[in-house]
């Protein structure tokens, strides 16, 4: 059966092909603010990766004679009460912030998406059990739940990640559940089942990729929120333990010297703001670029 059928006459010509990737980048990089967000994001990642090389001083070493210095050529952002270089601590704080942010978001997204997908696909009792647990987690404001868990588990970066992951789980599960419920009703899922595909295949290969664009946007937008929450926990003293460098803790420490050395509070504050802003911008850009209504256009 190698002979080819002759293409019928009057065959409808396919619409011109659009390279999805090129279109994605074009829309993504359309807004300057998104480019700004992306640049900040990349700079942060580089800073976090090469913190050891970039930091001019050891962020943990106390140099008491240098305590509470104003910004100068030697200490660009001054020093804190223990004489530690603020800039160096800020740079190492980036590492903490991004690590908590990424690990938390990935853990909770993976677990949340799995739960939401299973609940949406199987419906019935599994859906009842999973979604009601998620609802009960959702009753608490995220920060309060994270505080509760952090207080129970104790401080430290690991427990902060666990607390924040649990607290942000219901969001992912809910969104994924909703997406699954709507995607599941599509004809192609029925067609897929009619060719003998298993539930697993229908879920992983057909529903999941269709739900990915909104999930990617959700993840990026959540990243900023998680970093903010981590700063909040550290600010309240139940997050990263001293002498670990965390922006939230730096704000707390600096607040005592707000009048004499405002830079101690302003520097980490600006860093937090910048990160959250950058991630939200990147998320917005992704949302526009992944908008399915634009698929195949431009």
């Amino acid at each position: 059966m190698v002979e080819q059928r002759k293409p019928e006459e009057g065959f409808q010509e396919a619409p011109p092909r659009v390279n999805e990737w090129r279109r994605f980048w074009k829309v993504f990089l359309q807004r300057k603010i998104v480019i700004f967000g992306l640049v900040v994001f990349l700079l942060l990642v580089i800073t976090a990766l090469f913190a050891g090389l970039l930091a001019p001083f050891d962020p943990y070493k106390n140099v008491l004679p240098d305590s509470l210095q104003q910004p100068s050529g030697k200490h660009w952002l001054g020093t804190d009460i223990q004489g530690r270089d603020t800039l160096s601590r800020l740079i190492f704080g980036t590492r903490t912030a991004l690590m908590v942010g990424f690990i938390t978001v990935i853990t909770s997204a993976v677990i949340g998406v799995t739960l939401g997908l299973a609940a949406g696909f199987f419906g019935g009792i599994p859906s009842m059990v999973i979604m009601r647990i998620m609802d009960s987690l959702m009753c608490f404001p995220m920060l309060v739940l994270a505080m509760l868990l952090a207080a129970v588990l104790g401080g430290g970066i690991q427990n902060v990640i666990i607390a924040l992951s649990v607290a942000s789980l219901p969001g992912y599960a809910r969104v994924m559940n909703g997406l699954t419920l709507s995607i599941r009703e599509n004809d192609y899922i029925m067609a897929e089942r009619s060719i003998g595909a298993s539930n697993w295949r229908a879920m992983v290969r057909h529903i999941l990729p269709n739900a990915l664009p909104p999930m990617i946007v959700l993840v990026t937008l959540q990243l900023g929120g998680i970093i903010l929450a981590e700063a909040g926990l550290s600010f309240l003293g139940i997050g990263i333990k001293p002498p670990g460098a965390a922006w939230g803790a730096m704000v707390t420490d600096g607040s005592r010297f707000l009048r004499t050395s405002p830079i101690l509070t302003i520097a980490p504050g600006v860093a937090i703001m910048l990160v959250v802003f950058a991630f939200n911008m990147v998320g917005d850009g992704l949302r526009d670029a992944l908008d399915p209504r634009l698929r195949g256009l431009l």
Binding site: Q4, R5, K6, P7, P15, S194, I195
Partner: protein
């Protein structure tokens, strides 16, 4: 010709808030090897549901409440709906093509990924072999430049082309039966004709039986050897295509044929629509469901329950008491 599939007394019902809807109520039919069978009826008469039931693809609130589907000496309804045995029948032995080509392909996977999927599942082909076979199949169903188009996404294809892909998909594992659920309803007329011709060639070549589910009598007249006419969840008339078109016996079929314009008609002849609407399938009376719309009704129709399919002439069966060989106007005169 040997019998491939026999459906006996299939009952599929949907439990809705306002009552039980019997979408299929005692549907029985058979399909022979390498035969093209037409299943005709209005929207909502249960023709699609009967086919989905054969594949056990009815999802809640629907339920197959009775009957049997004998395929290869095995009752398919004994298999667990989504178990491995049922899955090995779906696609590999009985394949299905759906009505809406625009939504029957997953938008995020390439045509190739979707075409090869079945070959890998059922035929245990390697990825390379499956890809080659997929290109070959795409060529067979008339997609030009298949080797470059295989990596395209569904939105690069027009409706007719997508339906061709669906047909290629349906045939890819050499199924014994291909069920085409209104395969051309969503396409324009010229594409319809091309696709139906192509489908006929394909089932001949693959030695597959074809079930065409449609509301278009013209489609089955040309392609089907046997026809089943469905009304309100039951088969009301069955027989060879030529018999039914030459001498329809059930009042519903007669009505349907009167609604179709004919080229050999005298000018000015009016089409006669069937009065009224199909019945609500909830709480149906025991009497004939077509009774309120029937112009042949006799007294017996009101008293006795809907009759079973009874032979009128060899292979020709109807489910009716009235003598439909006499025109209703003439019978009134007498």
């Amino acid at each position: 010709m040997t019998e491939l599939l026999r459906v006996n007394g299939l009952v599929t019902q949907f439990n809705t808030e306002s009552g039980v809807v019997k979408a299929c109520d005692g549907v029985s039919y058979y399909i022979n090897e390498q035969e093209i069978v037409g299943l005709v009826g209005e929207s909502g008469c249960g023709k699609s549901v009967s086919q989905l039931s054969v594949m056990q693809l009815i999802s809640a609130p629907g339920k197959i409440a009775g009957g049997e589907v004998i395929f290869d000496g095995q009752n398919l309804l004994d298999y667990q709906a989504n178990g491995p045995q049922m899955r090995s029948v779906r696609g590999a032995k009985i394949a299905m093509i759906f009505q809406e080509p625009m939504t029957s392909l997953n938008p995020v996977l390439t045509i190739g990924q979707q075409l090869t999927e079945m070959l890998v599942i059922h035929m245990k082909m390697s990825a390379d072999a499956a890809r080659k076979r997929a290109i070959e199949l795409m060529g067979l169903v008339g997609i030009p430049a298949a080797d470059s188009r295989i990596d395209d996404y569904p939105h690069h294809f027009s409706g007719g082309m997508r339906q061709r892909v669906m047909i290629a998909m349906g045939l890819s594992c050499n199924p014994k039966i291909l069920i085409a659920d209104e395969p051309t309803t969503a396409l324009d007329v010229t594409t319809q004709a091309q696709l139906l011709e192509m489908m006929r060639d394909m089932v001949e070549r693959f030695r597959t039986s074809l079930v065409i589910v449609t509301h278009n009598l013209g489609v089955v007249a040309r392609y089907a050897q046997r026809i089943y006419i469905m009304y309100a969840g039951r088969i009301v008339e069955s027989g060879m295509t030529k018999d039914i078109f030459a001498k329809p016996r059930h009042p519903y079929t007669i009505g349907l044929l009167k609604c179709i314009p004919r080229l050999d008609e005298e000018e000015g002849t009016k089409l006669v629509p069937i009065e009224g609407l199909p019945p609500n399938l909830i709480n149906m009376p025991a009497t004939c469901a077509f009774l309120p719309r029937c112009s042949y009704k006799i007294e017996k129709c009101y008293k006795e329950p809907w009759p079973e399919l009874t032979p009128v002439n060899g292979d020709h069966f109807i489910r009716c008491y009235a003598n439909t060989e006499v025109k209703p106007s003439e019978s009134k005169k007498r």
